[in-house]
């Protein structure tokens, strides 16, 4: 009996210890019973400028809402999905988290997000531009706020362009290079350079794989039909796009190590081994800090039968696992009010999503001179592109892009097989 008691004691002690420990691991809201008081956990990633901007806005929110606290949990971009997914699976999810538009659909369809229309005025989302309002809607209801957007344009090394004798670059959207002009410029850059240098780097590594669509849509192709119910990717336009990609690598216009599983081009660009890259404006603060030895400028993505750029940027969402949904909704509303969205974008080189800010010229703190190119380029985002990249489970399609385009560029997979396999995954996703 004595022995059993000791055993029971040990089991109880172990159990209590484990419970305490697991409890300590958990996130989630806590605090008083007042729905507008307590602590919210907000999971995000971001560069130093973005984190600083978030902290400033959080500090103002806490000042205006005594008893409310927002705890910012910073996670590297490459790990944020796993962090959020596994904590949600364990019912220990954060109250708020930042999410890319391309990943939003998964969470909305998984029924883990809060329908904000239950907590905010019914017309609150009318302030956002139509395309981005649609990007955070699921079955007609708003499940997040479009915090900002961001698009790709060309960032180029002025010194290397000068050395290749390329002076005038397109400075109006309608004058953007044609694909042939782009190839011509790239070849001249390649020929003018010495050593291990190349002309161009594409920002399509891993989660950015979907940016190949910038070229597909410019060529007049598409991933899905207009209501995203059927894939249209296997097309002559797509084959033309793949031909273009093959040319980059076969003619040594792109570094071999910048395929879809290769190196991020913005990390290589500061070392002056690539003359130009496709890059989002969110990278400007980092590039500005890393580039010390040369001048750089921006121009537009090349145009073909049309123009296109990617729907970058992020939304912020609240989860159903929060104990303070009212407070979470209130913070989201605060985060995207005119003043806060403006200051966040100005500090981080991102583009606003509010109609009243899109019309305005923002005072960017870093390199305001190169931002108009990104702002103009953002007008080439199309509703069809937005719908295509926000289908639920787009992540799986994006993974197919990584695998299939990598096999096409690095391996010897034919364009037919590549597009066939992408079409298969794109079909599976909308059929499910």
């Amino acid at each position: 009996m004595n022995q059993l008691t000791r055993r029971q004691f040990l089991a109880a002690a172990g159990g209590t210890g484990a419970a305490l420990w697991l409890g300590a691991c958990g996130g989630g809201s806590s605090g008083s019973s007042d729905p507008m008081k307590g602590t919210l956990e907000f999971v995000t990633w971001g560069g130093p400028a973005e984190i600083k901007a978030f902290e400033a806005i959080i500090s103002d929110f806490e000042d205006q809402n005594p008893g409310a606290r927002i705890r910012l949990q910073e996670t590297p971009f490459n790990e944020v999905r796993q962090t959020v997914d596994s904590s949600l699976e364990a019912e220990q999810g954060p109250d708020l988290f930042r999410v890319t538009y391309t990943d939003f659909g998964f969470y909305a369809a998984s029924n883990v997000l809060i329908d904000l229309s239950e907590y905010l005025p019914s017309d609150f989302s009318n302030v956002f531009t139509e395309g981005l309002r649609a990007a955070v809607e699921f079955e007609g209801a708003p499940y997040g706020v479009p915090h900002h957007t961001d698009v790709s344009a060309i960032v180029y090394n002025k010194d290397l362009f000068q050395a290749a004798g390329i002076g005038a670059l397109p400075d109006r959207l309608e004058d953007a290079w044609s694909w042939d002009e782009f190839l011509d410029v790239s070849r001249r850059l390649r020929d003018a350079q010495t050593g291990n240098r190349t002309a161009f780097g594409m920002n399509w590594q891993l989660a950015g794989a979907f940016r190949w669509l910038n070229w597909l849509y410019a060529a007049g192709g598409s991933l899905y039909n207009s209501d995203a119910t059927r894939t249209t990717v296997d097309s002559p336009e797509a084959r033309k796009t793949l031909d273009m990609f093959k040319t980059w690598f076969e003619e040594d216009l792109c570094p071999d190590n910048t395929s879809l599983k290769g190196s991020y081009v913005d990390l290589i660009f500061p070392a002056q081994t690539i003359a130009m890259i496709s890059a989002g404006s969110f990278l400007v603060p980092t590039l500005e800090a890393d580039i010390t030895r040369f001048e750089y400028g921006t121009t537009y993505l090349p145009q073909d039968v049309g123009m296109s750029t990617d729907l970058g940027g992020n939304a912020v969402v609240a989860t159903q696992q929060t104990e303070k949904p009212e407070l979470a909704a209130k913070f989201l509303e605060f985060l995207v009010n005119q003043k806060n969205m403006k200051r966040f974008c100005e500090a981080t080189n991102l583009l606003p999503t509010r109609n009243d800010l899109v019309e305005q010229k923002l005072d960017y703190e870093i390199r305001p001179d190169i931002m108009p190119v990104f702002v103009d380029q953002s007008t080439t985002i199309t509703p069809a592109y937005t719908r295509a990249v926000t289908v639920p489970d787009f992540t799986q399609v994006n993974n197919a892009f990584v695998d299939q385009l990598e096999s096409f560029i690095v391996g010897d997979q034919s364009p037919e097989a590549t597009l066939g396999n992408i079409a298969q995954e794109a079909t599976d996703v909308v059929r499910d």
Binding site: S110, K261, S263, Q396, S407, G411
Partner: protein, 301 residues
């Protein structure tokens, strides 16, 4: 219940048994919660189709039948076996060579031992990140140095064979220190008299190595080989950080492919099925290895 079965035994023995159970209970609890339970759950999830969030669908052996026609899975399997077949023997040879060098009174011996052991205590992620910069074929220091002596540039990232070479080199760099330490201990355990006696019999240093040193290192070698195989089958962090499995699937191993499927593609069931295959494969390989080492040296088993 175990207590009642041992009714006949003296109280002292019972107390001893209980003490033993108490002493191993923390280990058992941790093992049960963090090893056994996840292992069982992996088997369960491998029979499901699930993204982790939302409902799971039972698919029986569906994930396993899908594996059979998955080219990347077979490529990963071959890569895993090949990676183990190359890194384990090379790691052993290199570890032994360094240990024999540093077993002698060489200049700055302790400093050299520390330098060789240092990579073992660096986290795999940090080592992978360092290597990622070193082997970057545009801006990496390795190509820079090769260029100074008129070699290269080597396509460490874009050529499948060179990418695998970079993975092997990194693995050896990280692993050689551990093998060295084990071999150093084993070398110091070989009685000096054996060498003296063989010298009296006229053995040269090659014969001494063959007939005295190598047999004396048997146990250490078996241990390092088994441990090395386990580590190389479980390889993940170094490869995931250094190459991400690329270019194409050239450096994809079962560990990285399981992770990509389970977490990047959110195919938890499919990723778990790959994990189960890896687990079963490791059991088979280790069983064979144990069987061989017992036959070779029965009294050591």
């Amino acid at each position: 219940m175990a207590v009642t079965q041992r009714k006949g035994k003296p109280a002292a023995l019972r107390r001893e048994a209980l003490t033993a159970y108490l002493l191993i209970s923390p280990n058992l609890i941790v093992f049960g919660v963090f090893m056994l339970l996840p292992l069982i759950l992996t088997f369960v999830i491998s029979a499901q189709e699930t993204s982790g969030l939302g409902p799971a669908e039972w698919v029986g052996l569906g994930n396993y039948t899908e594996l059979i026609s998955d080219g990347v899975f077979w490529r990963s399997l071959i890569n895993t076996v090949g990676y183990a077949a190359v890194t384990v023997p090379l790691g052993l040879a290199l570890g032994l060579a360094v240990a024999m060098l540093l077993n002698n009174a060489v200049w700055l011996r302790d400093v050299m031992r520390t330098i060789y052991y240092l990579p073992v205590v660096i986290s795999g992620v940090a080592a992978g990140l360092i290597a990622q910069w070193m082997f970057n074929e545009n801006i990496g220091v390795v190509n820079e140095l090769l260029g100074l002596v008129g070699l290269g540039p080597v396509s460490w990232q874009s050529s499948p064979a060179w990418a695998m070479t970079s993975v092997v080199l990194l693995t050896l760099w990280v692993g050689v220190g551990f093998n060295m330490v084990v071999y150093l201990a084993a070398l110091q355990g070989i009685p000096r008299e054996y060498y003296d006696a063989s010298a009296v019999d006229g053995a040269n240093s090659v014969q001494q190595f063959r007939h005295v040193t190598l047999p004396g290192l048997g146990t250490a070698t078996v241990f390092l080989a088994i441990y090395g195989v386990i580590l190389s089958f479980q390889a993940f962090d170094l490869i995931y950080i250094l190459t991400g499995g690329g270019p194409g699937s050239a450096t994809e191993v079962l560990g990285t492919y399981a992770y990509e499927q389970a977490f990047s593609a959110r195919e938890r069931g499919y990723g778990s099925a790959i994990g189960v295959v890896l687990y079963l494969l490791l059991i088979v390989v280790l069983s064979v290895q144990f069987w061989i080492s017992r036959r070779r040296d029965p009294e050591e088993g």
